[in-house]
Symmetry: C2
DNA sequence: TAATAATTTCGACTGCAGTCAATTTTTCCC
DNA sequence: GGGAAAAATTGACTGCAGTCGAAATTATTA
């Protein structure tokens, strides 16, 4: 590695660490970029050569953390449990990490769920990692007959993710407490699987359509 | 009305109109509070006596617009159509208004879905208006046998709202285009009604459990 | 090695969100 | 009406995010 690259690596790391430490210590709003720069031992402009905005520092950190979680989950997932349980595990793990730092999570979610037009960059990479985690689980679920085969996996993902979002929103808005998150998520997930309409509603057609 | 109240009313209105006009004209970021104050014919401090932050101006505007839409919808709703169609109408109407000003909608959604801890004020009022709109529809749906009676209306609401959120997110992140919104929402809504698991999965138990 | 080119670092500078103490306007009461 | 209390208005001020051109560092070439 050239001197240049080594320095860049080191600088970025130093900025990251300084930023996370200061944010955790004093909160996002009470930490200035100049603070971060000084702590990291660089100039203010240098911070901006590594991160486009203040929010991007947190975004970068959260993406990194998320990646770690996902890798853990891929390794430790019990592929033979029900889809319901596996999905609950995944999203509760994510939630648990968010609770570790409510403020980081909020900024990250705001930016990734409703990004500015300017930073609609390449989500595809993050998306891919996500699908890499979920698709195998859902495919096996389909194979086991737990999930309908006529719904695209993308859509099934959307259903679970949407309920995760609404729960997170309920938590951030104070409509539910931390303890209520898991039972509420479990209930919503199972309702999504069962459907909102009565089951006997379309038994007749259904029985005909299936062998 | 006293002179004082009249002035307050007039000032607030003037600030609102100036703000919305300038935001629409030049965008949120390119409009300063001093701009707004000057256009409205008041001092900068006065703006802050009516709105706590710059975002609050847009938030107030969106809440007002939303209220109008909801009143319209309550009046014009066809209570005898299917729940699916009515929900689609409601959320597509909301979406349509968001598309009128993408930037306002983004700020509003960011703030209302993932609010700062400081402005978790009284959501209950806005919530109430929402439920006033949705509950009658869902109750009739239950009565007609379109919706399960064993799920709390709050949860049913959560299901539809969550899918609305995920669609909005997909739109803001550029994963789907404006034209794709309606079909995608329709599909997700009907899947939520039918359930993600195969229908014949639990017919036997189900038939037993119902008379 | 020396001279030049490419890249990175830097902090002074700009512009704006939000604050606050001083001032003006309105209300209240005699 | 007049004078005091209450409420609203104001703009100078503070602090910080983000910019930018100049200076320093590293790479390249001869």
């Amino acid at each position: 590695m050239s001197i240049r690259e080594a320095k860049k690596q080191k600088n970025k790391q130093a900025i990251f660490e300084a930023a996370i430490a200061l944010f955790s210590e004093n909160g996002y709003d009470n930490t200035s970029i100049e603070n971060i720069a000084k702590t990291a031992g660089v100039g203010k402009g240098t911070v901006y050569s590594y991160f486009q905005t203040k929010k991007d520092i947190i975004k970068g950190f959260c993406e990194y953390e998320l990646e770690k979680i996902h890798q853990e989950l891929v390794k430790n997932s019990d592929q033979d449990t029900s889809v319901l349980k596996q999905m609950l595990t995944i999203y509760m793990t994510e939630f648990h990490h968010v609770t570790q730092n409510r403020e980081f999570g909020r900024i990250f979610m705001r930016e990734s769920v409703f990004p500015s037009d300017s930073d609609i960059e390449d989500n595809s990479q993050t998306d891919d990692k996500y699908f890499q985690l979920l698709f195998p689980i859902l495919e096996k679920g389909q194979a086991r007959g737990e999930l309908r085969k006529d719904i695209d996996l993308l859509y099934i993902t959307a259903h679970f993710y949407s309920l995760y979002l609404v729960i997170m929103s309920a938590w951030y808005t104070g409509r539910i407490t931390t303890e209520e998150v898991e039972p509420a998520m479990g209930l919503l997930f199972s309702q999504a699987l069962e459907g909102l309409q009565p089951k006997n509603e379309s038994i007749n057609e259904n029985v005909k359509n299936n062998e």
